[in-house]
Symmetry: C2
Subunit: 151 residues, 2 copies
DNA sequence: ACGTGGTTGTTCAAATTCAAACCAAGCTGT
DNA sequence: ACAGCTTGGTTTGAATTTGAACAACCACGT
């Protein structure tokens, strides 16, 4: 067993910062969304992605990939949102197996009311803590990290 | 309802990068640890923290805080590790209520064998993707983000 | 000593997550 | 047309997570 290259002090600090920041920001967000909009973060993300998509609809598999979640997990969450009338399912015309998740008017409306508080929290927890320079590095570096892990 | 300051392009890129990188890295790590060591990431983290602590033991509540998890979640995971003989519980001499989680020799041994693969994956997924400059910014910036959310 | 309030860790129920099995439908080559 | 492989989405069961409720205990002021 070859001795690996351990992390030096800087690398360790970056790694731990990455882990802790990820955990804490996620936690903070989850709590804020639950309190103010009654949504989990995954649910909020579903609504956001649908709202951004043309027609407010995306195929299930495609949506699962964008959300970086399992297909079964998405089935469950879309079910939850459907129960609350925020999303509905629509059969795909060209592929009998296919299913679109569609944002309803109620869903769009809830998103409108939830968004300001969400953005404020994102700013408070992450964005406004950093200066422009740091934001640029984060965007570039973490963008690259994400991109590489996509395949 | 006051119009919030929405995120501009750079801020949005940083935020999305942060989310996607966090998700993907976590996912990659989870998979690697499960495959090579039969541990979940939370479990691995427990072992690491114990190994770092003097005497290889930490009080449950203290450990939960370091891991940024709920107390009940920790109770469960320590139970799992205990079943496998990687950790044991020890009563606290000065406080009857208190419980130490203690790393066993088997736990230390498993950690030794698991660590190299883990570090390699962390490098591959995150550390080695960035240059020193970026690592420094990440460490400082995300360190600050985490610190602020500690309250 | 005594009450009061805060701590400690566990238990509990409910919600969520994932991977694997599954079914139905599409696609490809013969 | 048909066999064999891939895809799309759901179902299923097991594992995990969380917050709330709980029981036992500590510390402190009176």
């Amino acid at each position: 067993m070859k001795e690996p290259r351990w992390l030096d002090e800087l690398e360790m600090a970056a790694w731990q910062g990455f882990l802790e920041a990820g955990n804490r920001v996620t936690r903070r967000l989850e709590q804020q969304l639950k309190d103010e909009a009654g949504l989990s973060h995954p649910q909020y993300e579903i609504l956001v992605h649908l709202a951004d998509a043309p027609g407010g609809e995306i195929r299930m598999t495609e949506l699962a990939e964008r959300l970086i979640t399992s297909k079964s997990g998405l089935t469950y969450q879309v079910g939850q949102l459907e129960r609350r009338g925020l999303v509905r399912r629509r059969a795909c015309p060209t592929d009998v197996r296919g299913v679109f998740a569609v944002l309803t008017e109620e869903g769009r409306e809830l998103l409108r009311t939830a968004a300001p508080g969400h953005v404020a929290t994102v700013r408070e927890a992450l964005i406004d803590v950093l200066d422009r320079e740091e934001l640029a590095v984060l965007a570039r570096a973490l963008g690259e990290v994400g991109r590489r892990l996509r395949d």
